[in-house]
Symmetry: C2
Subunit: 250 residues, 2 copies
């Protein structure tokens, strides 16, 4: 059978949203283009200002418009940025609540392959950046562990040069940061992460793609193990690896 779409109410603002979104996706409106003022455009559409404003708000929420106040203000077509997408994914994953296993599984599929590509493309400057990241992690201790850890993996995927992979890795790292914030990782976790990163960078420095890949796989599994062992936070992990509030600590 065919898929059925729920019939939506014919809201004026929604109609306008689709017209403007369509104009952007068809190329009629380009980045930086300024739409007419609320007053003018509402008159053109033959609707009230409030209806048009609601449409503008929604388009802004989609990340397609930027609305500026002031004399030279107005509504400007904007490139959707990754922040908009990640915020949406945060909302989505809040309800899905994927298990740590699921995150790890995706990572084990993608990141070992990513470092293989990195081994071929990585520059001396990249190596320097990665080494600096590790040094910062050792210096700062656990304070910025998650952020630096996240930055390390994002740096690698960016070297690989695939926008889609970058989005996926970035989103997963953002989700993992949120999870780690609720767990209390200890010093041995930090040391393990640093060691893993160091070995990977060493392999990349040698342009040894197979070794880098194997080390990355090991590292990802170590991180999962470390996270699953963390049980001293306000949250506990169910046997399926899902994060839940600890019922015993009220």
């Amino acid at each position: 059978m065919f898929d059925i779409d729920v019939v939506k109410p014919n809201r004026i603002s929604e109609n306008i949203v689709e017209q403007i979104r369509g104009a952007i996706l068809s190329g009629e409106l380009k980045i930086g283009d300024r739409l007419p003022s609320e007053k003018d455009l509402s008159a053109k559409f033959g609707v009230s200002k409030s209806s048009l404003r609601e449409a503008y708000r929604v388009l802004e929420a989609y990340g397609l418009l930027e609305i500026r106040q002031g004399m030279a203000g107005g509504a400007f077509v904007k490139e959707v940025d990754i922040r908009t997408i990640k915020d949406g994914l945060v909302n989505y994953f809040f309800f899905q609540n994927p298990s740590i296993r699921e995150y790890t599984q995706v990572r084990t599929f993608i990141e070992p392959e990513i470092v293989k590509i990195c081994a071929l493309k990585v520059t001396e400057e990249d190596i320097k950046d990665l080494e600096d990241n590790i040094l910062a992690m050792e210096a700062e201790g656990e304070r910025f562990l998650s952020d630096l850890d996240s930055a390390f993996h994002k740096k690698l995927v960016d070297i690989a040069g695939n926008n889609i992979l970058s989005l996926v890795v970035d989103s997963i790292q953002t989700a993992l940061i949120n999870i780690k914030r609720l767990l209390h990782t200890d010093d041995s976790f930090l040391k393990m992460v640093c060691k893993g990163h160091k070995d990977i960078v060493a392999a990349l420095s040698d342009r040894d793609s197979e070794k880098a890949s194997t080390l990355m796989l090991q590292h990802i599994n170590d991180v999962e193990k470390g996270m699953l062992e963390c049980k001293n936070g306000a949250m506990v992990l169910t046997e399926s690896g899902r994060l839940m509030p600890d019922q015993n600590k009220k």
Copy 2:
């Protein structure tokens, strides 16, 4: 240096959006909960109805609220659905315009691994569904090729049982459908797809995970090759594999 976030204007509606979003993400508000009516809630926040309405519209755009008219209507907390996320990704990828190479690369990392898992988990009923899908493809010809092709890969990833992978594969399939709509695939492409799917299902039926994985990798590469050879549409592919409007056909 630290990341800098652009300071946003202190809009009333934005303030309300964040308060309500926060209440949802903190668990204070649960799926199905009904928020007070516009009249009541705007009074509680001490703002006008219009400001509250704009906030509701944005939350609705995020997929966090569903607003219903009528006597028993109002604003209800809703689980963000995948459609909301995919629409956002369509907007995002419109500007990123990833190359076919990028899509293929992600697929080659993920889907061979997915079918490995499928080989262990697949049921007789799943096999039947997959076979039906192939039969439908052969019967329908090119008309629904993209949709059925997409459904085949989505079915496989759903068997694997990883929400994140399902989202990634689903999103890539949606993007590829949009690209294929602009290319004109021929009958040999259809045959190639059917053959690939058949072989994969046969390997899954034998529970041969390695063979299924190898065949999937081959299939994905074949599909890329087929797409890159398609040059008879209104669009052309640049040497980097990006889809662009054909300048010669005006």
